[in-house]
Symmetry: C2
Subunit: 446 residues, 2 copies
């Protein structure tokens, strides 16, 4: 879910309501519908960026509403906790913008406010070139951003796992003991990018550490996922997905983690109608809202590259892979069968950063989705908003079909997000997760 009008021109459709993204009721309605339908969680993408071409925000992006404007998901998410009881709530926070004590405190407080339904999607920032200018900072190199992210998560884990032992919160009015000084402590951390001596001022919530998500398929992105993620969000075609999932599982094993403890969720675009031809009619209406200029602005946002300045009949120059903005959508178009710049633009106009959509009636898209899961070894989908900017068509048409097939369970009771997705019977990090090593004083400031 994006707290904006969505990827490119779909907002122009008469039945699209994503244009209400600055109205709280839009979100309250969406959250209530998702919960009622038995959806596991709502996921917010986020970044401070926007397309930058030729040194600034291009008129195309302003006029077309391409990755611009957008709001702050954390100004919305707590409101959704107030109107739901089971729905997981996952938000992105960039390790380039938020300092570790900020992430730790926000997430720890939200773990309480949501009764353990919170997740953090760890990213190093999208639209990083725009974001760096906005924050008055030099652009940080792509791979270095992942080193920073690893140090960031490491410190955040110390704050979540290392400050409060189980039973540290006492709240005994008789004896006047609020918390037990033997079980509450400052941690210390002297990493390559972050240092800290301090205590997380929030006692642990139901999950203690929020459920950890990661997105980003570059080599350092996969490595970060393998080390820390409990769920990974991927967007690509089947072949690439299969390779990425196998590779991340391999890397996880090298870090001493159970490779099957990580859940892989594929970006799923479902274009569904009462009939197959209805679905294709929606697809045609949707594609008609997107111009090649929109596609170029969107591509610039994700990669920092301006395709309009390149020869449309040649593939990307291999040096494009050195972009410091985002590499997933550059590497995707390199290699032996590399498409031309024009073909990249056309593909971006169709699908932007997502893989090809599933199109058809409910049975057909369910078949396609099942086949994708079987082929890739993934665990599920991160369903993308439909042409209306909501999940209504998925909920109304596809969920019943998946339920009939026994592929989703829509009547599960309230539980933590980690228990809901991992099914391991514990709300806390697994024992083989690096965060578990910081428990019971192991990260203490002496």
């Amino acid at each position: 879910m994006f707290q904006c009008v969505g990827l490119m021109g779909t907002w122009k459709l008469a039945d699209n309501t994503a244009t209400d993204f600055l109205d709280l009721n839009h979100w309250l309605t969406m959250a209530r519908r998702c919960e009622a339908a038995g959806v596991d969680f709502l996921f917010f993408a986020d970044d401070y960026g926007y397309p930058v071409v030729d040194g600034g925000l291009p008129a195309t992006a302003i006029r077309g509403g391409v990755q611009f404007p957008k709001g702050d998901p954390l100004a919305i998410l707590p409101a959704l906790a107030a109107v739901t009881e089971k729905l997981g709530l996952v938000t992105t926070l960039s390790t380039m913008v938020e300092q570790p004590p900020m992430v730790a405190r926000k997430m720890a407080t939200l773990d309480h406010m949501t009764n353990g339904r919170i997740g953090w999607n760890v990213v190093t920032g999208a639209g990083q070139n725009a974001s760096a200018r906005l924050f008055g900072a030099a652009m940080t190199g792509h791979d270095q951003r992942y080193e920073i992210a690893a140090d960031h998560v490491d410190l955040s884990l110390k704050l979540w796992e290392g400050c409060w032992d189980e039973g540290g919160l006492v709240v005994d009015r008789e004896s006047g003991i609020y918390a037990d000084p033997e079980k509450v402590r400052e941690i210390e951390h002297y990493g390559p990018h972050f240092s800290s001596q301090g205590v997380l001022t929030v006692p642990p919530g139901p999950q203690r550490t929020p459920m950890l998500f990661q997105a980003g398929a570059s080599a350092p992105g996969r490595d970060l996922a393998a080390k820390y993620a409990e769920a990974v969000f991927l967007a690509a075609e089947v072949g690439a997905l299969t390779e990425q999932i196998a590779d991340i599982r391999r890397r996880a094993q090298q870090y001493g983690r159970d490779p099957h403890s990580i859940k892989f969720l594929i970006a799923g675009t479902f274009i569904v109608g009462a009939t197959e031809s209805d679905a294709w009619a929606i697809r045609e209406r949707q594609l008609a809202t997107r111009t090649l200029d929109d596609a170029a602005a969107s591509y610039a946002f994700f990669t920092g590259l301006d395709l309009a300045t390149m020869d449309p009949d040649k593939p990307l120059d291999p040096s494009a892979a050195k972009t410091e903005t985002g590499r997933t959508n550059v590497e995707r178009f390199l290699g032996p069968d590399a498409p031309t710049v024009r073909q990249i633009l056309e593909e971006f106009q169709r699908n932007s950063v997502m893989g090809s959509p599933f199109i058809g009636d409910a049975q057909q898209v369910a078949d396609q989705a099942e086949a994708t899961i079987a082929a890739t070894g993934a665990d599920g989908f991160l369903v993308q908003p439909d042409h209306t900017g909501t999940f209504d068509s998925f909920i109304d048409l596809i969920m019943p079909e998946l339920q009939a097939r026994g592929l989703v369970q829509t009547d599960r009771p309230a539980m933590t997000l980690r228990e809901r997705l991992l099914g391991t019977g514990t709300p806390h990090l697994a024992a083989d997760h690096p965060g578990a090593a910081y428990r019971n004083g192991a990260a203490a400031h002496r």
Copy 2:
């Protein structure tokens, strides 16, 4: 309002519910009650700090729950927007922790989500010594923190006032124009502490700039208030309040602002009972919960000074005024009639950073409050939570009395917070506010 158990030991009382501060329902109930009673706004204090004595969080503060633990108000506030329609929502964000584009985006999004009911309390951070250690930063000098704050607010104002002209958001599905490139622009800012070239990705909400609050009575604090604040929160005794208000109004005039456009709100502690003796009984119960150790930990939080290491029979050494943590509660105890360290501890045990409470039945406390307003020239009170950790006794006993006297109006319709408090008939910054100078391209990146 503090998203914690409150100032010192009141949480130990059997009828105190502030211990539920990590339960969202506690806040939803409070917000609904305040709204139903016609309260203007709910105010969240905030900081990442905690008492630091002898290089770390002292056992006293952990055991007694003194300024520790505490949560993140922004993980709570949006939920309150979902269950209220009129209540203003003001939160503190520190200019030492939050970067200007973060503050600008959070507040702009919240201005939408609350329908213009949001306010920002600009602070340079409380518990700054603890906060600096937690963020792995060197302690920034007291006066320099205010220079940073001024630069921060200046850039934030450019982002709110300078990026989007009125009418910039179009959302015309027919023509496919989302926003007008002639009316949306990047600003630029090269200040002594912050630089930025960028655009606020959030279109303006009802107020555009959140209503601006300031707290902090040191000389640089007053100057910041005089330049930027629309409402100022002060806590002191009548004599000091009168002087501070007159001084800030004088400084505002020097900045070319109408000195009466700033509203002054006094921290008001109301201890009320059905009878005067009931009220005094509550006061006694409350005082019995607070030890001198609690008072010392609380004083250390606000000032960075450890009174336990000083001679109890002497006043503070004048060099204490050079503390880099917080000066309001040092300067308060210096001068010709300076109390001894023991007397400071006793005063802090009674009232912490607040002035003396109003104590009595509803008529008596209303009389006392009226007299304080008349003596100081203030405009109203920032009511502190009562011994139960809520505003219930104020709402149930005092609001009817104030209403009978025509001092509060409890049935006003929904409007922006700025209109509610300033009554100027506009939801936007006044023309003589420095932020108004950045409108219509005056802060543009050329």
